[in-house]
Amino acid sequence: MTEEYRFHLAIGSRFENIELVQVVLRDCLERLGMEEDARQWVDLAVREALANAIKHGNEQNPSKQVHVDFVSEGGELLIRVEDEGTGFDPSHISDPLAPENILRPNGRGIHFMKSFMDGIQYSSGPRGGTTVTLRKKITGSRADFSE
C-alpha cells in the first residue's frame, strides 16, 4: 500500500517565512523517499509558488496569510499554495523564453514551476485568492512500495 502524508500550514506574507515552509517540505520529501535530485527541484518550485503568493497575491501584506497543503496519494505529491489576494489570470503571463523577454529581470517563476514539476494548475481559492497546485510523481526507494 502507498503511504499517505497530509500536512497543512499557514504563514504570514514575509519572504523569510519561505524558509519555514522549506523545513516542513524537506521533511515531507524525505519521509516520502523522494530522490535527492527531485527533492531539489520540488524545493525550488515551491519557493517560486510561495514567492508569487507573498509578492503578487498578498502584496507582502504580513496580515494576509499563505496557506500550504502537502498531500501524497497514489504515488504522487500534491502541493497547494493559496494566497488571500484578488485573483490572477495566468494567461496574461508573457513567455520568458521569447527573445524580447529573455533579458527581463523577472517573469520566470511560473516557467520554473512548469519545468521542475510534473504538473501545475491555477484555480481560484475559497478565500478569493489564487491557488496553485503543483504535482510531482514520487520516485525513490521508499515511494515505489505500492505492491
Binding site: L44, R47, L103
Partner: protein, 112 residues
C-alpha cells in the same frame, strides 16, 4: 549569502556563497555587481561555486547585472557553475546569453 570581492590583474571577481533567493541574497548580489561596475571595472567575473540555491529572483539579478555591465561597456561572465545552476540557465535559455567557464583561469584568460 556572502559576497567577497578580489582582483586578479584587472579582472574583478565576486565569490558568492550561499543562497541567492528572494529576500535573501538577491539584493546583496545586485548591490555587489553595481558597486563593482560603479567603481569603473570593465572585466567582471562571478564565481558561482558556492551557490547552494538560486531561484528566479536570483536569476533575475544575474540578468540585471549582465545588462547593467553591458550598458556600461563592461563584461560580466560566470564560472564554476554548480550543475543545478547550469540546469537552470539551460531551462531559462540564459546559457546562450552568459559567457560561462569551467575554471577561474579559463574565465580570466577569456578577457585577453
Amino acid at each position: 549569502m556572502d559576497v567577497s570581492k578580489r582582483q586578479v590583474g584587472d579582472v574583478n571577481i565576486l565569490d558568492l556563497k550561499g543562497k541567492i533567493t528572494i529576500g535573501s541574497g538577491d539584493v546583496q548580489l545586485r548591490n555587489a555587481v553595481q558597486e563593482v561596475i560603479n567603481s569603473g571595472a570593465t572585466k567582471v567575473l562571478i564565481n558561482m561555486a558556492g551557490v547552494s540555491t538560486i531561484d528566479s529572483s536570483g536569476i533575475g539579478e544575474l540578468v540585471s547585472g549582465y545588462t547593467t555591465a553591458t550598458n556600461r561597456g563592461a563584461k560580466l561572465k560566470l564560472f564554476n557553475l554548480p550543475s543545478k545552476v547550469t540546469d537552470i540557465l539551460t531551462i531559462t535559455q540564459l546559457i546562450t546569453v552568459f559567457d560561462v567557464f569551467d575554471s577561474e583561469d579559463e574565465a580570466v584568460r577569456s578577457f585577453d
